[in-house]
Symmetry: C2
Subunit: 189 residues, 2 copies
């Protein structure tokens, strides 16, 4: 964990940046979001705490970067699923198997610019992750433009609701997942 890292050679400072991102992802796969500190992530990378600031303006900027990647991963997994039902289960499985990643994606966002908007790249990443759902709904529905988008959102919100509630209150026993997804989809499409 704390084995020190050889200094990057000239022109390869980007390596540390990538190493920090990878370490963050790894940490969030086994630990809670609040165990992610400047000091844990730099120690895991084998550098001093202050090294983080060579490549990120602050801790939030690093989290922000991994958030984009988690969005992309989620999108990729959804796209790989076969059919709407499988996609819904894939979504819930991602949240269940990577609670730390899912928590980061939907963590309350404090990074807004002067006008109160978030960085454009996260917005993009968010829409991109949702895209497979929209397409799958469109496919099973035969494309009814606005209707398709609304239904995809409604499906998404129901999946997110279950995923997040399950993470926040694991003691609350929800009805069977298969049944939940089946009922959801049969009502929506």
């Amino acid at each position: 964990m704390t084995t020190s890292r050889p200094r990057s050679r000239r022109g390869s400072g980007e390596e540390l940046r990538e190493a920090l991102i990878v370490a963050t992802s790894a940490l969030l796969d086994t630990h809670q979001l609040d165990d992610l500190t400047v000091r844990t992530v730099t120690a895991a990378t084998g550098v001093s705490p202050t090294a983080l600031y060579l490549h990120f303006s602050d801790l939030d900027a690093l989290v922000h970067e991994v958030k984009k990647r988690f969005f992309a991963t989620l999108g990729d997994r959804l796209r790989a699923a076969n059919g709407l039902r499988a996609m819904a289960h894939t979504y819930l499985a991602y949240a269940r198997d990577h609670p730390g990643h899912y928590a980061v994606i939907f963590h309350i966002d404090k990074r807004t610019d002067a006008v109160g908007n978030p960085p454009e790249d996260v917005v993009q990443a968010g829409f991109a992750a949702l895209q497979p759902l929209v397409e799958a709904v469109g496919a099973t529905l035969g494309d009814r433009s606005q209707e398709t988008f609304d239904i995809a959102i409604e499906l998404w919100l129901s999946l997110h609701g279950r995923a997040q509630l399950n993470a926040a209150m694991p003691w609350f026993e929800l009805p069977d997942e298969d049944r939940y997804v089946d009922r959801l989809i049969s009502r929506l499409v």
Copy 2:
């Protein structure tokens, strides 16, 4: 904010306990959850940081206590709503108007006992808050036992999904709330 508080008279130590709870609620009405620290809440109450430990085992125990109260408040508001549609809007309004409170209620729970269960009182509070929804669904449906409970949960998860997503990604423009609630209810009951 930092005006100091007169020491409680003999036998009235409970007053400070209550004052801390009230200060916490007030803070969470205007600030984010991570602005709630031992030092901000005790300062707002007019006592030294260490005074908190006279009445709570730690900061989490205080948050735990207000969480129960927020659950109760949410339940009361839902019960006061007239009909399922109004109840759904009440739910979303609570989350929108008191983001700090809603965030506490659904904050990822780290307080589990030896066997991994949460304190029984929070479980109770959670179920109690949900009760009005179950009853309203039962009323409009004519009571079909298990079916009623499942539908209430499904409605709840859809509302929570929208509320939490809206808090986490306010930049994501969701379809109109009225329309969302109408579609949701007409599909479910």
